[in-house]
Amino acid sequence: MHPIRKQRLIVVLLIVVGSSLAAFFIIKALKQNLNLFYEPSRVANGEAPIDRQIRVGGMVAEGSLIRQANSLTVNFIITDFAANVAVEYSGILPDMFAENAGTVVTGFLSESGIFFADQVLAKHDENYMPPEVSAALDRAKDTVNQPDN
């Protein structure tokens, strides 16, 4: 083979092999880090996986926010008004986090049904509702109104 052809071939092969390796790692990393969103109703139905990072969103139930003394651990309940999920979180809550306001939490569901959150997100202003939360509330409202479906 012509030496220049040969060199080109080496370059092309290296690129192909390198890119395939990269593609393999990209897909692998992506698979491990996809966090699926679940409404409280689906968590209550047992649809959400245990010990896999997921997201849960809904309204913070009124009167459910409890702070533990001498630590930053808080417990609260996320509801879509059809079902509830108990959440435990240790850390500083975002500025606009409040009861009767929308929130999305990321973390792990435990065997006991308590959701241990690593991250709590709240709306970033008064009028804003995370779209996933409003969709979850709408869906829950539909199921409550038409229990036969």
């Binding site: 220049i4 390198g18 992506l30 966090n35 699926l36 969103f37 001498n70 500083i92 990321t106 995370p130």
Partner: protein
């Protein structure tokens, strides 16, 4: 009256841009010089009109003209004048007006500055820019008019600017970012013009390079400013979140970085032509994709002002026309491009090829991670989000590999590189020096922050120092070679200085990212007055909580004393920080304002969480070593790109083109 003038100028721009998109091209086809020249005149007119329009909107914000709906929605009489001005682009409509105004400014610059470019090429470039302008003007005029008025029932007070945006960083971040984003339209227009003309020579690359460099430099600054802003203004100490909107700006940046380098190979050696053209098309398409992601409201973020599906559809349609049209043209015309010079396996050409492959992979990582959740939601496959670990896991190896290879960059000549014994000895010496310095640095850090010697940090630091040592030594060798005088300094081309500074900037930035990520520490704690919390050898003491009232917000302000404790010495007060929790009255928003003591070696960072019980607060404290290097590195990268833009070979007229650039293999 003033808003009407602004609105009228804006409306007038649309037919003007339409004429500019069509008539000069007919001139090209008909070989009519007068019609072709018309493009430059129209570029000036378009700029003047948009400048007037932008001025009118700014004036309306400045005088609190609440008959303009946009002013009512996003401004307030209590705002200081500079925030009233930045409120102009702190919203969907105004930021789009800024977008087209910047596009008009780039168009004007091309019209005025490119006297060395043949008229036909220049005319085509200007017309393509005008086509883009038509799209965005139509978008503003039909879906997002900033001059909408409410003359009946004019409110007496406005809703206020989102407090997150009331900040110096946000006055300059969007214009910088847009100058970069929109600047890629020039490279795009040059690529389209080249495809139309069937001309892909070294000269084409030489015309395109300065525009690309400067746009990329601005984009770099814009992204760095955004990161810096998020760091101190969002209040929680993170400097990059892999938020889709951040990713939207990172994608054109990565494509731009690849383009800047592949253009150099195309200019110097006439290789990678068709890939360079494709990258130029891609960089601007990704800018448009970014605009679509941010402006359509499909993303949830502080950047998402609007959530009007009509607007999203408009940009999406525009995106399809631009991407589809340009790719079609590419598919038709690219095959006539001929391959360039032959080069050996180890050569600068191949090094640049590796650079491009790495940036293309990084781009794919971001593109996939950003679009996957949107696609899966749109197809009803479930609502996913992609976690930051995905991006980190991919970017860490890619970044380090890039840094390692960059270390060789200045030494490898075009065409063919032969490894001399002397050269390999020098490299081994540099590597040992880098390892030694990294050892010192990481031991120092471990001692300072009372942590174990971290081998990953050591590895990262070695690679970054390898890049820095290699680049600097090449630089000093060349000066010494020329006789260590001012003359020899001025003999080196600005492109070369640009490369040296930008590559050192990369080393500084990656070092900052690596060390901060590994050695930072953070604690969330409950604190009452006079409580202490220690991180490493730093002790934070909450000394006082007070109330503050400003013109547009009320705040709770904590005073936090930071002491340095070390064994055997009395503790020393370093600084007092004043983190605040602000309540903005008009918009009823809460804001966390961090207290930061910044220095090159480390940042001390405190932010105030919520009040847990009377006198007891949740507080977050950080120590962040070398975090400033991240932005310092970005500034150096951008400075390097700007220096390279002003290399004198770009100013030479096309008559002098036969002379090769300074005759040295190391000129970029």
């Amino acid at each position: 009256m003033i808003p009407e003038i602004g609105h009228f100028s804006l409306l007038l721009c649309l037919p003007l841009a339409l004429v500019m998109a069509v008539v000069p091209l007919i001139g090209v086809a008909a070989k009519n010089i007068v019609w072709m020249r018309f493009a430059s005149t129209l570029a000036i007119m378009q700029w003047v009109l948009l400048f007037l329009s932008f001025l009118a909107l700014s004036y309306s914000f400045f005088i609190d003209d609440f008959t303009v709906k946009l002013v009512t929605l996003h401004s307030n009489t209590a705002l200081p004048w500079y925030f009233k001005l930045s409120a102009v682009w702190g919203n969907h409509e105004g930021s789009l007006l800024l977008w087209v105004f910047i596009l008009a400014s780039w168009t004007l610059a091309v019209g005025l500055a490119s006297s060395s470019i043949p008229l036909v090429m220049k005319t085509r470039v200007l017309s393509v820019l005008a086509m883009i302008s038509v799209g965005f003007l139509a978008f503003i005029i039909f879906t997002s008019n900033p001059f909408d008025r409410s003359l009946i029932m004019t409110p007496s007070e406005g809703n206020d600017l989102n407090p997150l945006l009331q900040d110096i960083g946000l006055i300059i971040h969007p214009p910088m970012l847009y100058i970069g984003y929109v600047g890629f339209s020039v490279a795009f227009a040059f690529a389209i013009a080249a495809l139309l003309e069937g001309r892909f020579d070294a000269e084409w690359a030489r015309w395109t390079r300065p525009w690309t460099n400067i746009a990329w430099a601005f984009l770099t600054v814009g992204i760095a400013l955004g990161s810096w802003w998020a760091y101190y203004e969002l209040g929680w100490g993170g400097w990059w979140f892999w938020d889709p909107v951040e990713n939207a700006s990172l994608m054109p940046w990565l494509a731009g970085a690849a383009l800047v380098h592949s253009l150099s190979a195309t200019e110097k050696r006439g290789v990678f032509k068709s890939w360079t053209i494709l990258l130029a098309l891609l960089a601007f398409s990704l800018s448009l994709l970014g605009t679509f992601l941010v402006r359509s409201g499909i993303l949830v973020s502080v950047h998402a002002f609007a959530s009007d599906p009509e607007r999203g559809l408009f940009i999406l349609a525009f995106l399809f026309i631009v991407v589809g049209g340009s790719l079609l043209l590419y598919a038709l015309k690219a095959p006539i491009m001929k391959g360039g010079a032959v080069f050996a396996l180890i050569s600068r050409e191949n090094l640049l090829l590796i650079n491009n492959v790495l940036f293309a992979i990084a781009l794919t990582v971001v593109l996939l991670g950003t679009l996957f959740p949107l696609v899966s939601t749109a197809l009803d496959l479930g609502s996913y989000s992609v976690g930051a670990p995905y991006f980190n896991a991919m970017f860490a190896p890619l970044g380090l590999l890039t840094v390692f290879i960059m270390g060789f960059a200045p030494f490898i000549a075009w065409n063919r590189f032969t490894l001399l014994k002397q050269q390999s000895r020098q490299w081994i010496l540099h590597l040992l020096l880098a390892i030694f310095l990294a050892m010192l640095l990481v031991s120092g850090l471990s001692h300072q922050y009372v942590a174990d010697f971290n081998f990953l940090a050591f590895f990262i630091a070695s690679l970054c120092l390898w890049l820095a040592v290699n680049t600097l030594s090449h630089f000093f060798f060349r000066i010494k070679h020329g006789g260590l005088s001012f003359h020899s300094l001025s003999q080196l081309s600005l492109s070369y200085y640009g490369m040296v500074i930008a590559h050192i900037g990369m080393a500084v930035m990656i070092l900052g990212i690596g060390i901060t990520s590994i050695y930072e520490s953070q604690k969330d704690v409950r604190m009452a007055i006079s409580d202490n919390v220690s991180i490493n050898s730093y002790r934070y003491q909450l000394s006082e909580i007070s109330s503050v009232t400003a013109s547009n917000y009320d705040a709770t302000r904590a005073s936090v004393n930071v002491y340095h404790d070390s064994a055997g010495e009395p503790s020393r007060l370093i600084t007092t920080l004043y983190p605040e929790k602000r309540f903005y009255r008009a918009s009823r928003n809460m804001m966390t304002e961090a207290g930061i003591d910044a220095s090159l070696s480390r940042d001390l960072y405190v932010s105030l969480g919520e009040q847990l019980e009377p006198g007891v607060w949740a507080v977050r404290v950080h120590v962040k070593p070398l975090v400033r290097c991240i932005w310092l590195g970005a500034i150096l990268i951008s400075l390097g790109a700007i220096l390279a833009t002003f290399d004198k070979r770009y100013k030479r007229s096309s008559a002098a083109r036969s002379e090769p650039g300074l005759g040295s293999p190391s000129n970029h």
